[in-house]
């Protein structure tokens, strides 16, 4: 109960802070917002002073900042996210549409990273300093060091251009998932594997791990019954934090692969100064961070009763 209360307060603070920060940043961007919004609405070739002025008048862009922000906050309390300045559609509908696509991509990426990273990490952690451990250290450091856009391009070059195995872009079929999900998953798995490796090495060196074997359990039984359960707690906790990396990656990877998700939408909204869209999208990402970490808290408290205290 305590957890939920704390998290609810956090969610509220996140909402206010994100709203204020995005609002201030959007105001601070150079250039005339009216021109950008007009360009978003009518296309760059059709923008002229008249169109920009029309937009400015319609949206009241010249007004002072504080009332506009308080207005947004007031609407938010009524669960009204406003309408997009570009399309005129309610923000909530636009986000709802894009969020599904992003969650599917992120979900596949996390699943893929969990299949790749932790098992290798645990195997390495069982024999710290062994061959697998050393190779994994090099590979995971290397993978982590490659930025996501570069990873995406490398994968496209190798798998789509060179071997023509997979489509470089597109959306709708299962095979379209593979490249963007892999581009995200490799970076995540690199870190997952390290976390799992360190947790396994630490737990393997604990007295209870030896004691389970002295009791007569085989190494495999000890790993399954005592190792994995204990490794899962730091791993899950880290998974919650990895959400930040994931969001960052989703924005980049969606742009590279033309994936119609929330990251893609965020980039476009920023270009066309679509403040309600930016605020709505950022808020949505921020709140899902709180939500995911709350869920992970609840799950780890269930696994590890010491955390509930």
């Amino acid at each position: 109960m305590n957890t939920l209360m704390t998290r609810a307060i956090q969610a509220l603070m996140v909402a206010v802070l994100i709203g204020a920060a995005t609002f201030a940043m959007m105001r601070a961007l150079p250039g005339d917002a009216a021109y950008r919004i007009a360009a978003g609405r009518y296309g760059y070739d059709n923008v002229d002073t008249a169109a920009a002025d029309a937009v400015r008048d319609e949206l009241g862009l010249g007004g002072p900042a504080l009332p506009a922000f308080l207005g947004w906050l007031g609407d938010l309390l009524r669960l009204d996210f406003g309408t997009s300045l570009v399309t005129g559609q309610p923000v909530i509908e636009e986000i709802g549409h894009q969020l599904g696509a992003s969650m599917a991509l992120a979900g596949v990426a996390v699943l893929l990273s969990l299949i790749l990273g932790p098992p290798l990490g645990i195997l390495a952690g069982l024999r710290p300093g062994g061959v697998l451990d050393r190779v994994l250290l090099v590979v995971s450091t290397g993978l982590k060091a490659v930025p996501q856009f570069l990873m995406a391009l490398i994968l496209i070059l190798i798998l789509s251009v060179q071997f023509r195995l997979l489509p470089a872009a597109g959306h709708g079929e299962a095979r379209h998932f593979i490249l963007p999900a892999l581009a995200l998953a490799l970076g995540l798995a690199a870190v997952n594997a390290r976390i799992a490796r360190d947790a396994m090495a630490r737990i393997g060196a604990m007295p209870f791990y030896s004691f389970a074997q002295w009791m007569g359990l085989s190494p495999r039984q000890t790993l399954w019954r005592h190792g994995l359960r204990n490794v899962s707690v730091p791993l899950l906790t880290y998974l919650g934090l990895q959400f930040v990396t994931l969001v960052e990656g989703v924005v980049v990877v969606e742009a590279v692969f033309g994936w119609p998700g929330i990251g893609h939408a965020l980039v476009h909204a920023i270009f066309s100064r679509d403040v309600p869209m930016v605020q709505g999208t950022a808020l949505c990402l921020g709140l899902s961070f709180v939500l995911i970490n709350t869920l992970i808290d609840l799950v780890t408290q269930r696994i590890d009763p010491r955390r509930a205290a």
Binding site: M206, P207, F208, S210, F211, A212, Q213, W214, M215, G216, L217, Q221, R225, H226, R229, N230, V233, I303, D304, P305, R306
Partner: protein
């Protein structure tokens, strides 16, 4: 026929021998105690016999276990015997149970997976084991919800569930107070009464005396003396054994009571609680220059909390602490239990001490004057905390306190991690410090003998209700 026979066991590290040939045999119903200080090789001997040595150490020698003949050089051969022939009791029971698994399940899995009972039968057997050990109703608790003594019993049940007849206990009483120590000794002996074998590795003379049977005394990887425990303890033939036995607080000469100096602090009607539980109430005492106040009581009774109240680190829930006029907060200092944790790891000791001296406006020459008085070689100052022994480090910790010119030193179990001989040195120094520096010392120890022979007056704290445990006699009675 011997249950276990080990011949010419040696252990070496990269070609350097660290345990010289030792042979031993374990008879049914007669315990064997291996006594030694830290670094004497006693744990290595046990690990060589069980095949659990760390990878970088190699053992040689032959071990006969029932019908099995094993080569100590090939630890893999021991593995199938773990739990089935040899039960190994862990040092620190709390750390030896899986923190995420309920107590009864940890016993059940040994019955099920090691002994091969069916799932339902294993569970019934585990429940009955725990009942016998006086742990009725505790099976559904997690290890952190058990007291140290209870965790020890769960670990014993789990270790023996596989059906092993030989029990090897490596420092089974580490960190336990006197009452719990006797309880563990009685439990081990009760197991022995069923016709098993028992090998106990310890540095604790009281435990050795209680276990009895045969004894091997080790020092620096060599056997110093061997024989029946009772005769070795009463009439040691070797000088080292005599020193070791003389260092047992039971055998210390009582300290001469100090003349009362100026009063430093008066506590009246103190009470404190932790997590809503009353730890102690209505405690009144005085601290005066040069005198030692001993504080004893079982773990969890509030000894450390009392120290925090006196030092002014935490408030009392009732009562008053009146300090003599003119004393600053830094006149109240604490000597910690684990000296290694009380020093910055990556600084040389000289640097740490010089920093403290400078911070408190003391000339650095005071370090040089104090060093020989505490029996410390100047060369130690160039080292880091990891590179000096525990006894030296605790004396350096005392030196660091003295740089601050304290009036009250709260020494919280200052020797519980030290060997008996080192313990005696450190306690003697602490006593001298009280007289020489004119400060009052509050000496906390779980060892009533140590406190009785050192302190001018003793404060005995009762057990806190929250930690009330099943009493030893009942448990042992249930076992027999």
């Amino acid at each position: 026929m011997s249950l276990l026979k080990a011949e010419d066991i040696t252990v070496s590290q990269g070609g350097t021998p660290i345990l010289h040939p030792v042979s031993l045999h374990l008879e049914p119903g007669e315990p064997l105690v291996i006594l030694g200080e830290t670094g004497s090789g006693k744990s290595l001997l046990a690990q060589a016999i069980m095949g659990t040595l760390p990878r970088d150490l190699t053992a040689r020698g032959r071990v006969a276990l029932g019908d099995h003949l094993l080569d100590a050089a090939r630890p893999g051969g021991f593995r199938p015997l773990w739990g089935r022939q040899i039960a190994v009791l862990p040092q620190e029971p709390w750390l030896s149970l899986d923190p995420l698994m309920r107590a009864e399940r940890q016993v059940t899995e040994a019955h099920h997976l090691v002994r091969g009972l069916g799932a339902a039968e294993a569970q019934a057997q585990a429940a009955s084991d725990l009942n016998h050990l006086g742990l009725t109703g505790a099976g559904q608790r997690y290890p952190h919800e058990l007291s140290g003594g209870m965790a020890q019993r769960v670990a014993i049940a789990a270790a023996r569930a596989g059906g092993a007849r030989i029990v090897i206990a490596d420092e089974p009483t580490k960190g336990l107070d006197a009452a719990r120590r006797d309880e563990v000794a009685d439990l081990l002996l009760a197991e022995l009464a069923r016709g098993g074998g028992l090998l106990v590795i310890t540095h604790d003379l009281a435990l050795a005396r209680r276990i009895g049977g045969q004894m091997i005394v080790l020092r620096e990887g060599r056997v110093v003396e061997a024989g029946a425990t009772a005769s070795v303890m009463s009439a040691p033939t070797q000088a080292y054994t005599r020193d070791l036995i003389a260092a047992d607080p039971e055998n210390w000469a009582p300290r001469k009571p100090a003349a009362a100096g100026l009063p430093i602090l008066t506590a009246t009607g103190l009470a404190a609680e932790r997590g809503g539980t009353r730890l102690f109430s209505d405690l009144s005492f005085d601290l005066t220059e040069g005198r030692i106040l001993g504080i004893t009581g079982p773990s969890g009774c509030g000894k450390s909390t009392l120290g925090d109240v006196v030092l002014g680190l935490t408030g009392a829930s009732a009562g008053r602490v009146e300090k003599a006029a003119g004393l600053t907060a830094t006149a109240f200092q604490k000597l910690y239990q684990d000296p290694v944790a009380a020093f910055p790891r990556h600084q040389t000791l000289g640097r740490t001490l010089a920093d403290v001296a400078r911070r408190h406006g003391q000339p650095e020459t005071r370090i040089d004057t104090l060093m020989p008085r505490l029996g410390l070689a100047p060369a130690l100052l160039t080292r880091r905390p990891g590179a000096v022994s525990g006894g030296e480090l605790q004396r350096l910790a005392l030196l660091r306190l003295l740089l601050v010119r304290p009036k009250v030193i709260f020494a919280d179990e200052p020797t519980s991690r030290l060997d008996p001989i080192t313990q005696k040195q450190v306690i003697d120094l602490l006593c001298e410090t009280a007289t020489a520096e004119g400060c009052a010392i509050m000496l906390v120890s779980h060892d009533p003998a140590l406190v009785a022979r050192t302190a001018d007056h003793v404060l005995s704290l009762g057990p806190a209700a929250a930690n009330a445990d099943v009493t030893a006699p009942r448990v042992v009675g249930a076992l027999q």
